[in-house]
């Protein structure tokens, strides 16, 4: 079994147009949450989101190329380009054939679909734009990445709601570890700011009317986010041999399903995923020095997650910093686990643990060290990134400092 290195990172999000800006925002505890711009929020119960403000497909894509891509697919390619450039990948015909792409997305190009359905249902037009299907499909991100770099190896997309990118990165990690691929581009992308999608989230009554306050007693729900984060994975030995910079290692993936309820989280299911990742990585609970939480700031998630962490880590949970960076980049659904994995990688690499922003009041039901509001300097050897999706499908990644 091979060790797996992250040699390239890329991101676009509400708190930065690239990975360096993203890291700087986390360090400063700067939130990207603000009034929603890219959809009409006047008929919504909530007003705020974590958008990539002022985004335009230029200078990233010329008009004709952009015609073929929903915003979520554009984000996927933008982040992948940065990750590939960062890794300094030297493409050969052999590498293109043995490289894999595994992306995560929850809603895919539903924003494009929403516009098309508005045309037929509301405006009474008799036809929908012919690119609606190829723009909407959730695998469009992976497909456009494959065309961008001429990658002809195994490529696919995983859709497990808010854990999509966690499962995707985990599968890419396992493919590298077992020798099923020699390089992988993996992560997640999402762009859910479309009126129909926002109305659906409103109906669930889980979106906060103001901001996202994970683990805080006065939390009132999640804030939707968008963006992408992508990683280049390589076998550690090969990365070292070519003198590549290693941001961090991926050392474990733990998965579980709650088999319980379609939306309510189960502490048992989360705990099983946490135990599974420790087993996969061969780690003891005491070796973990930081957890990037799922931390949605809904009334239900945060106490369930805290209970799961308490259950698995026992006394060590009292000394284990846990933060939710959703307080800054929002809940980017199928991209969430990718942005949060990048936050954990950044924490290990730079020795700075990102805070839980917007935290105002301790909640005894979330009795954890949540790094309130101020980033913290700490050299940590191992970190976890939690993702516990609607539908009860859970994925936790384990990372090691390079």
């Amino acid at each position: 079994m091979r060790r797996v290195a992250i040699t390239g990172v890329g991101a676009i999000s509400a708190i930065g147009r690239n990975a360096a800006e993203f890291a700087a925002s986390l360090r400063q505890g700067r939130s990207g949450i603000g009034p929603i711009e890219s959809a009409d929020s006047s008929q919504l119960r909530f007003r705020n989101g974590a958008e990539v403000r002022g985004y335009c497909h230029q200078p990233y894509f010329d008009d004709r190329r952009a015609d073929f891509m929903d915003r979520f697919a554009q984000f996927a390619v933008i982040a992948a380009r940065e990750a590939v450039a960062d890794a300094g990948v030297v493409w050969t015909p052999e590498l293109r054939e043995t490289a894999a792409i595994v992306t995560g997305s929850c809603v895919g190009g539903q924003s494009t679909e929403d516009i098309g359905f508005h045309e037929v249902y509301k405006l009474g037009h008799n036809r929908v734009h012919p690119l609606t299907i190829p723009k909407t499909m959730a695998n469009a991100g992976a497909s456009h990445i494959s065309m961008e770099f001429g990658i002809t190896g195994p490529s696919f997309t995983i859709s497990t709601a808010c854990a999509s990118a966690g499962h995707a990165i985990g599968q890419a990690f396992w493919m590298l570890r077992t020798g099923a691929a020699e390089l992988a581009i993996t992560g997640g992308s999402e762009a859910p700011f479309s009126f129909g999608i926002l109305k659906a989230w409103e109906a669930m009554r889980v979106v906060s009317p103001d901001t996202c306050r994970p683990f805080s007693k006065d939390r009132r729900g999640m804030i939707l986010g968008e963006g992408a984060a992508m990683f280049v994975l390589e076998p550690l030995e090969a990365a070292r041999a070519r003198g590549a910079r290693v941001h961090a290692e991926i050392v474990g993936l733990g998965m579980s399903s709650d088999a319980c309820h379609i939306t309510q989280p189960s502490p048992d299911g989360a705990a099983r995923a946490l135990r599974a990742v420790l087993r996969d990585a061969g780690l003891a609970p005491e070796q973990i020095g930081y957890i990037n939480a799922h931390g949605t700031a809904t009334p239900a998630n945060d106490p369930a997650e805290a209970a799961a962490i308490r259950c698995v880590f026992g006394a060590h949970a009292g000394r284990l910093p846990v933060s939710s960076t959703k307080s800054m980049h929002g809940h980017a659904l199928g991209a969430a686990a990718a942005l949060e994995c990048l936050a954990a990688v950044t924490a290990l690499r730079d020795g700075v643990l990102p805070p839980t922003a917007n935290f105002s009041e301790f909640d005894p039901d979330c009795d954890l060290d949540v790094i309130p509001n101020q980033a913290r300097e700490a050299q940590v050897e191992y970190a976890l990134s939690n993702s516990f999706a609607f539908g009860g499908l859970n994925a936790v990644l384990a990372l090691r400092r390079a």
Partner: protein, 88 residues
Amino acid sequence: MSDELIQRVLKVIATSKRIPLETVTIESDFQQLGIDSMDAVEILFALENEFDISIPDEEVRAVRNVRQMCEGVEKLIAAQAADAAANQ
């Protein structure tokens, strides 16, 4: 509270949750009826359609039983009627 309003609320709950109408009374609480958070969100949606009202999130946070739900609906209908009168 009018009997008519109560009966309409009980019917919405029974229909949404797909349980016999006679199992739902003004004295029932959600836990007794097996109504979890997602069921409750569906019932609110059905109530909004039934009474043509909009139920804000903050109105529902503390609602745990059928009586509170009926009182909340009554309040929102009254507020809506007052608004309509003021706008005439």
